[in-house]
Amino acid sequence: MLNPGEIMQTIKMISEENLDIRTITMGISLRDCSSEDITKSCDKIYDKIMNYAKNLVKTGEDIEREYGIPIINKRISVTPISLVAESCDEESYVKFAQALDRAAFETGVNFIGGFSALVHKGYTKGDHRLIDSIPYALAETKRVCSSVNVASTKAGINMDAVLQMGRIIKQTAALTEKEYGLGCAKLVVFANSVEDNPFMAGAYHGVGEGECVINVGVSGPGVVKCALEEVRGQEFGIVADTIKKTAFKITRMGQLVAQEASKRLGVPFGIVDLSLAPTPAIGDSVAYILEEMGIEKCGAHGTTAALALLNDAVKRVELWHPRMLVGLVVHSFQFQRMQE
């Protein structure tokens, strides 16, 4: 039986501490949408996205109302277009971006990610064409997001790609100059990109993924910060435990929403991504969490250690399919009190 304290805690997390579902992202495989004819390929892409995602926004809104948890964004991610477009003989892949943009507009999502290439080990013809098209694609579309993976732990860093992306970023900024360089806000350069990231602008539907999937991103730095305020000055074990328990609650909520969306849309549930990344809302920053843990000011000595500890506490939430967005290697530290 629920007790009133627990109910009020949840209500407070949502209304005052900025707890929300940051995004429901539907990942769609476009691996079967290739064609030598670019128009055919774009049509296949558009149709497939419409078929799977036509009810995504409405479902998100229904769940939001029934459960009382804000679902801020509904988004789509697709197979990296450099793979899908490669069979065409066109030099420019802007038409693909336009097809994605149309589908995003019709489905009502606010972003569609996947105008992407994976070049950490080398380029293919499709990769070259995709990357060359990025500045134009981002200038001519509103909702398309792009990403390029230029490095991985296994493969190393593709320095040619790093050099090229520097130029691509500048070109993208120049082409979107009238919008204050907005194109660059829709472009990500990655090392070790993940295949099922639900957050933009770096979301894409990796090649190891299935046909279609629902991934949910939950945002909770404000909630963790408020929980830590209650245990200020306490022993480090208690601080870690508080973070763990709070992360558990946030992730469970994300899992509930993901499973419900998956059921209603008839699409398998993928992952819940717990992000402590900050939002512009006041009090919703991971920097405040570190300061609450005892760092005098975020950036002072001990900041990296505190971040590693935070990561460690969150990662020990033992659930099916949770994942932390911050990719730090975590070692365990022995601290009694961070504030001393």
Binding site: E6, E66, Y67, G68, M253
Partner: protein, 89 residues
């Protein structure tokens, strides 16, 4: 199917009566109530059975929200699973 209805706002005459009447009119059974008034702030949590609800859940939620606006209160109806998933394994 159960829903949790929370009412928060300045205390005044008729809150419980009007909320309970709206629920009764729509076939919603109140299973449990917890209510407290602290320094004129009224807080009430109701666990309800909405399986015989005459309206769609979202319509009930809107109706309660409207009542809240009329009375100057925040009235939210939420599926109980959101609380169960966060606080129970």
């Amino acid at each position: 199917m159960k829903a949790v209805i929370t009412v928060i706002g300045s205390d005044k005459v008729g809150i419980i009566a009007r909320v309970a009447t709206l629920l009764a009119d729509n076939g919603v059974n109140i299973l449990d109530i917890s209510q407290t008034t602290m320094q004129d702030i009224f807080t009430m949590i109701m666990l309800t059975d909405i399986s015989e609800n005459k309206l769609k859940f979202t319509e009930l939620a809107y109706a309660l929200d409207d009542l809240g606006i009329q009375m100057g209160l925040s009235i939210k109806a939420q599926h109980e699973d959101i609380f169960n998933s966060m606080h129970r394994i």
